[in-house]
Structure formats: C-alpha cells, structure tokens
C-alpha cells in the first residue's frame, strides 16, 4: 500500500524529467539538422527561462498557496546582476559558459537574498494582502533598477542609485545606466545551459515537494492552524519557499538577460509577473509538469500568431478566458461530463453491436 503511493509520486516526477529531456533531445537534433527556423531558435532560451520562472512561481502559488504578483521583480534582479557580473568578468573568466553559470548563480543568490530581506517583514501578511505587497515590491524593484547606475572607472567599481547620471572619474564606463538599462551585452545564453537550468530547477523543486519541508509547506497551505498545532513554524516554511522561489527566478532572469544585446528595467513590470502567473494557473496549481507545458505553449502561442498581427493578443485573451471557463466552471464541467458519458455509452453500444 505504502509502496504504491511512493511509486505514484516517483512515476509522475519521472514523467516530468522524461518530457523535458525528450523535448531537449528533439530540439537539439532538429537544430543540428538545420531544420529550425531562426525564429524558433530564438524562442529556445526565453522558453527555458519562462519554464523555470513558472516552476519557481508554482512552488510559491501552487504548493505554498501564497499569491505573488511580483515575480518579475526577482527575475529583474537576477537579470541585471547577472549581466553586470558577466560584463565585469569579461577579461578574467575566458570560458563563456562558465561566465554564464557564474552570472546565473550570482543573480540567483542576490535575488534569494533580497527575497529573504523582503520576506522578513512581508511574510507576516496573508492572502490578498501578501499579493498586493509583492506587487508593490515588484514595482519598487523596477523603479529602483530604472534609476541605478553600475560601472567601473579609475576609482574602481562604482554603484549609485540616483535621479541623474553621476560623473565618472577619469576613463570608465557605466554598465547599467539608469532607465537606459544595459546595452551592448555580449550574448552568452545557450539552449544547453537553459536546459541544464530546467533540470536543476526540477531537481530542487521536486525534491523539496517530496521532503519533510515540502509536506510542511503543503500542510501550511491546507490548514495553517493545524500545521502550527503539530509544531510547524509557519513563517519559516513560507520563508523557505519564498527564498528558493526567488533564487530560481533570479537564475532564470540572468539567463534571460544574457540572451539579449540590450535590457531595460521596464521589461520586468507587473505584466511580466502576471504572464508568469497565467502559466502557473493554466498549467495547474502545484502541477510542475503542467507549468512546463503551459509556459512553453503560452509563450510560443502569441509568438506563433505574429502573422495575425493586431489580432493575436485579442485571440490570446479569448483563449485564456475560454480555457479558464472550461477548466473551472462547474456548469461547463457538468456539461462536458454528460457529453463524455454519452460518448462512452455510444461507443459501448457500437462495440456490443460489433461483438454480435
């Protein structure tokens, strides 16, 4: 009895890994055969980023049950810190992949650290209030990064948060220049590293979910008071989930930032947070494989509809509403189950007739 339960969980995790690996192998194969158009090749890295973002947000929203509307803020922290580090290390670390990985680790660490600092006061709030505060933090983060100056000059490393561009001492260069963001980034991100990041994320998140910590987090979501009554420190576990989620989002952000030649703070706004949330909800709360699939499909869907020009976003909106109605509405569910029953019935009859 106990065995079947464990096997079921393992089976699902295995399926998740398998889907990701098979998808990677297929895309790699097609790419080596030169069968991928440049547009599709361009999607590969951002899709990896959004998959990681969706999984990490799912940890918070689906598993932990806390709505966050500021995930793009952590992505932004990771993106800018990663890009800055990669630029600084340009001459010290030769290997591009190593530089990318260092940038990702740095971006993730910084995002996790800021997540921790934010979490101390904020995680006392719950539900919609936590949601609005995360939204506020996302906006603050965007606002601060948009007025941040990071660079090097003859006096060494320079960092400033200011309303006007500060003066450099002697010869030097701003890497991050306020609202202008970063330009002239050397693209480092590759599909292979993106794939590696997805695997790492799956490993961490799936392990976490199936551990004592994961059970505690789910327990807090299901019934906070009961969780406290068995000795679980609710704040600690919300914090753990929050920091892990921010860390992964930061890593994805660094990968994202190093995939483009320029980057500005406006990209990491409320709409981006919302898009990631849409991936999570449509993929299914707490369903990691669902997040992977829905992030992929929903990222590609509007891109693939570019031919439809002005209509694409309106179609996307309608699809989104319809999907929500079909998956959640009790009436629609009832109707579809009736239809399904009839179909089954019909099928059975035909089979019986055939048997006769």
């Amino acid at each position: 009895m106990k065995k079947t339960l464990l096997n079921k969980d393992k089976g699902k995790d295995f399926l998740t890994y398998a889907v990701v690996i098979v998808a990677f192998v297929i895309m790699q194969f097609l790419s080596s055969q030169g069968k991928l158009s440049s547009a599709v090749t361009g999607y590969l890295v951002p899709v990896c980023c959004y998959i990681v973002l969706a999984i990490s947000l799912n940890l918070l929203v689906g598993v932990c049950g806390e709505l966050s509307l500021g995930h793009a803020g952590f992505m932004g922290i990771g993106a800018f810190s990663g890009v800055v580090l990669a630029t600084l290390l340009k001459n010290t670390v030769d290997n591009a992949t190593l530089r990318l990985i260092l940038a990702m680790v740095f971006g993730g660490t910084l995002a996790g650290l800021i997540g921790f600092l934010i979490g101390i006061p904020v995680l006392r709030l719950r539900g919609d209030y936590l949601a609005i505060v995360t939204l506020a933090f996302g906006e603050i983060m965007k606002n601060i990064i948009g007025n941040m100056y990071v660079g090097t000059d003859e006096s060494g490393f320079r960092f400033a948060i200011a309303t006007a561009k500060p003066k450099l001492v002697g010869k030097g260069k701003w890497i991050l220049s306020g609202a202008m963001g970063v330009t002239g980034i050397k693209k480092l991100s590759t599909f292979a590293v993106g794939f590696g990041l997805i695997l790492f994320t799956l490993f961490v998140v799936l392990n976490l979910i199936n551990s004592k910590e994961g059970r505690a987090i789910k327990a807090v979501r299901d019934n906070r008071i009961a969780a406290e009554s068995v000795g679980i420190n609710v704040t600690t576990f919300r914090m753990k989930a929050f920091v892990v989620s921010a860390f992964l989002a930061g890593m994805a952000g660094a990968l994202y930032g190093l995939n483009y030649s320029s980057l500005d703070a406006a990209k990491f706004n409320f709409n981006t947070s919302i898009n990631i949330l849409v991936f999570v909800v449509l993929g299914g709360m707490g369903n990691i494989l669902g997040s992977v699939i829905s992030a992929t499909v929903l990222y590609i869907l509007p891109e693939a509809m570019r031919g439809l020009a002005d209509y694409r976003m309106i179609i996307y909106a309608v699809v989104l509403i319809l999907v929500m109605l079909f998956t959640w509405s009790p009436k629609v569910k009832e109707y579809t189950s009736v239809v399904a029953d009839r179909m089954k019935h019909l099928f059975k009859k035909e089979k019986e007739a055939a048997a006769k």
Binding site: K2, K212, R215, D222, A226, S229, V230
Partner: protein
C-alpha cells in the same frame, strides 16, 4: 530545549483524585488562575487544573462555557490575559503554538482540521515533522540522510496508523475519508508529534454508538501504550464517565468542580449548571 526555560517541577500530590501510579511524579500540565478577556468580555477566569503524567481528565460544561477557549489557551493559539500554563514544568508565556507543541502538547480540533489535499500517510508524517531529523540541504539535494530519515518516518507513521486501525487507508486522500475516520486520523496525527499530553476536542462528536465504544477503548489504549496524559472535551456523558479518571466542570468560564466521575455526578453545583435551579422551574 528544556534548559533554556526555568523549570518548575511541582509533583503530583497524593490525594485520591489522581491516579495512584502518578503519585510523586512531576505534573505534565499545570494551569494556574488562567483567564482571558475578549474586548470587555471575560471568556475564561481563574481556571486552574493539573494533570499527572498518565491521567485521563475530562473537561465538561454547557455550550459556550469556554472549553475550546481553554484548549486554545493551552496550545498558544490565544495568549492568556491572566495566569500561567506550565507544560512539563515549563511556562508557555509568550510562546507561539509551534513552540508550545514542542514542549510536548498536541491536540485535535472540534471542527476537524486535517490537511485534506494530502494522503493519510502524509498527514501523519506532517505530524512527525519535528521528529524527522533531516537537514534542508539534504532534502533539497537528496543526500543520503534524506533516504534514511524518510524510511524511518514511513515505518513509524505506518506503525501509528496501524495502532488506530487506519493502516489500510494510508494512501487515501484525507479529505475523502468518512467523518469518524477523520477524527481518528487527527488523533494519530497528534500522537505523531510524540507528545506527553494530548488534548481531544469532542473526539466522539458525529460518531455512532459503536464507533464511540470503540473510541473509548482506543483512548485507554493510547494512554496505556504511550504513557501519556489525555485531556478531553466531550458532551457524551457515557464516554466521559467511563473513560475519565478525573473530571473538571466549567461554567461561564469558571471551574465549578473537579473530582472523580462519582463525585461530579453527585455535586449539586454541577447538577445546577446542567439542569438549572430546581426552584427556578
């Protein structure tokens, strides 16, 4: 853990309301002049009770007398306005629920609070949370410590489920179980925290007579197997009178009597609280 708090070891007095085998041992629960006000309303006032290490004590009283409020005070859900609660000799003043639980107190809820979306086994394993020694890093990266700890936890959880006759249901979703089974699962979850006292809030509510009889045996069996104290709120007088060695009676937030079932049955104040004054009818 224990040495960071001043320990106050009052021993079980030797008069007859306590179990003889408890005599001379330290109290597991010692409540002194407990009181709480909500706004201007006094819900509980000067409530004192103490339980020996293997005592089964009932807490009875009319609806709205403040019984569940007392459980909430004991477990740190509410902070008392007055008085103190000592669990295993340690004052719980200012502690949050999860810290109080670590001192060795566990509870069930009147309106069942299971982790409905999780399996029965996982519910018990959540209860064992503080017993499972496995670092955050080893569960995140599946280090060897994780597997060993999980294996032990599974075995222990199954043992506890088996004890309450729930082993067959281990992989069912907790929310899908019938009412009586859910109540028993809550008890298993409470036992999983390795407590020295458990509080049962109306364990027989919603159970049919045969389930209640079964429960009565189980309550005694829990005490005899785990050697812990049990403090229970119950309206089923048959259960209370048969299972409890001592009974505390609460009315309007005050303790009006404590004694053996026999003493309580004959106590005029208790009869009055339950039935009203004779001349008032």
């Amino acid at each position: 853990m224990s040495n960071q708090y001043p320990k106050n070891t009052v021993q079980v007095p030797t008069f007859n309301t306590y179990r003889e085998s408890d005599a001379g041992k330290p109290l597991v629960l010692d409540v002194r002049n407990l009181g709480i006000d909500f706004g201007g309303l006094t819900a509980v006032d000067s409530f004192s009770v103490s339980l020996g290490p293997t005592e089964i004590c009932g807490l009875i009283g009319p609806n709205g007398a403040g019984k569940t409020t007392i459980f909430n005070l004991l477990t740190g859900v509410y902070q008392p306005t007055r008085g103190s609660v000592l669990i295993n000799g340690i004052d719980t003043k200012g502690m949050s629920t999860h810290k109080v639980t670590k001192l060795g107190i566990a509870r069930t809820f009147q309106n069942i609070r299971l982790f409905t979306d999780m399996s029965v086994l996982d519910n018990v394993k959540v209860g064992m949370h503080n017993q499972i020694k496995c670092s955050f890093a080893s569960s995140l990266f599946r280090l060897p410590g994780y597997f060993a700890a999980e294996k032990r936890a599974n075995a222990r959880a199954m043992e506890l489920l088996d004890f309450m006759g729930l082993a067959d249901l281990a992989d069912q979703k907790a929310g899908s179980l019938p009412y009586g089974v859910q109540r028993r699962l809550e008890i298993v979850r409470a036992l999983a925290t390795n407590p020295s006292i458990i509080l049962l809030d109306e364990p027989a509510a919603g159970m049919n007579p045969s389930e209640t009889t079964e429960l009565m045996h189980q309550i005694r069996r829990i005490r005899d197997t785990f050697h812990i104290a049990i403090f229970l709120i119950e309206h089923d007088m048959n259960l209370v009178m048969n299972v409890c060695e001592t009974i505390a009676v609460l009315n309007y937030g005050r303790l009006i009597a404590k004694g053996t079932p026999e003493e309580i049955r004959q106590n005029p104040t208790v009869i009055e609280a339950y039935l009203g004054k004779e001349d008032g009818q």
